[in-house]
Point group: C2
Chain length 158, copies 2
DNA sequence: GTTGAAATTTACCCCAT
DNA sequence: ATGGGGTAAATTTCAAC
């Protein structure tokens, strides 16, 4: 993977596709001031470089029955690298865990977990997380409501 | 907005588009066992109903210079609804705050914040968050690494 | 850029209920 | 009559040259 160096047009392409991942290449090209073919070449290059990792529809979680979002703050007994990796490997196998971030400070990991309801969540928590080896403490907080959920990162408007 | 009732085909469409938001409608139609036109009608209906909220390219944050992800746990002095709304309105104006979830328990909000570096983050934190009215306490944790970051929710395979 | 191939979109028809 | 799927044709987009 090569070093990524982007000019202004690349940045605008990234911003536009983050905002609307289904924008047609023709519209994208117009917006950034190119004709379609070079614009598409840039998009493909950005994908190959890994600047664009994929495209995803943003679903309403409730539409698929996931009415509960929970944040779990996990502390481990051992923070040896192999133990950290083992925990990450564990959460990778739990589909309801959508995100796993390793943090500094007393809390080792924060997980974002979705579940249909409180019962399902408690089931996942007690059978898969709190009983896992090396897990010292799990503190969970239910999401009451989400007021902001933007994708990715801010993009400079130009 | 009407009540959402989905059959198996709708669920499969949602799952496939969450996984690949740029899948062509003809491929999508093949995968779910329809021809293109009725498939597209279903997609448009799902968009209108709000089951699909949008499509986004997943960018590598580092590509745009955002090398730091931070979680901020915020406690307010007053949890009156108007004060909660006021805080949500404040964070809505800060582009680096990508997510804002209201939680139960002592922590009122968890924010996901991105920044180019620690200096920029401290600047945002001290000028926009900790000094805001009604903010009692902000505890921040830096992300060391992110081992899992899946979009949306699990989708039943069929 | 240009052009052939492919995808999208609209309109219309059919079938089932 | 209504709703969902299929067929066909026009337009747009894609991708190779």
């Amino acid at each position: 993977m090569e070093k990524m160096r982007f000019d202004d047009i690349d940045v605008r392409i990234l911003g536009l596709l983050q905002d609307n991942g289904r924008m047609t290449n023709v519209e994208l090209a117009e917006r950034v001031g190119l004709t379609a073919p070079p614009c598409l070449r840039r998009v493909r290059a950005l994908e190959l470089q890994g600047a664009i990792n994929g495209y995803h529809a943003a679903l309403d979680p409730g539409a698929l029955g996931y009415n509960l979002t929970v944040f779990a703050m996990v502390s481990l007994k051992s923070q040896a690298e192999s133990d950290l990796r083992a925990f990450e490997a564990l959460v990778a196998t739990i589909p309801e865990v959508r995100e796993c971030h390793m943090l500094n400070g007393e809390i080792d990991f924060i997980l974002k977990i979705v579940a249909p309801d409180l019962q399902s969540f408690q089931q996942i928590l007690t059978t898969k997380l709190t009983t896992a080896p090396n897990v010292e403490h799990v503190k969970t907080s239910l999401t009451i409501r989400t007021s902001k959920a933007l994708p990715g990162v801010p993009v400079p408007e130009m």
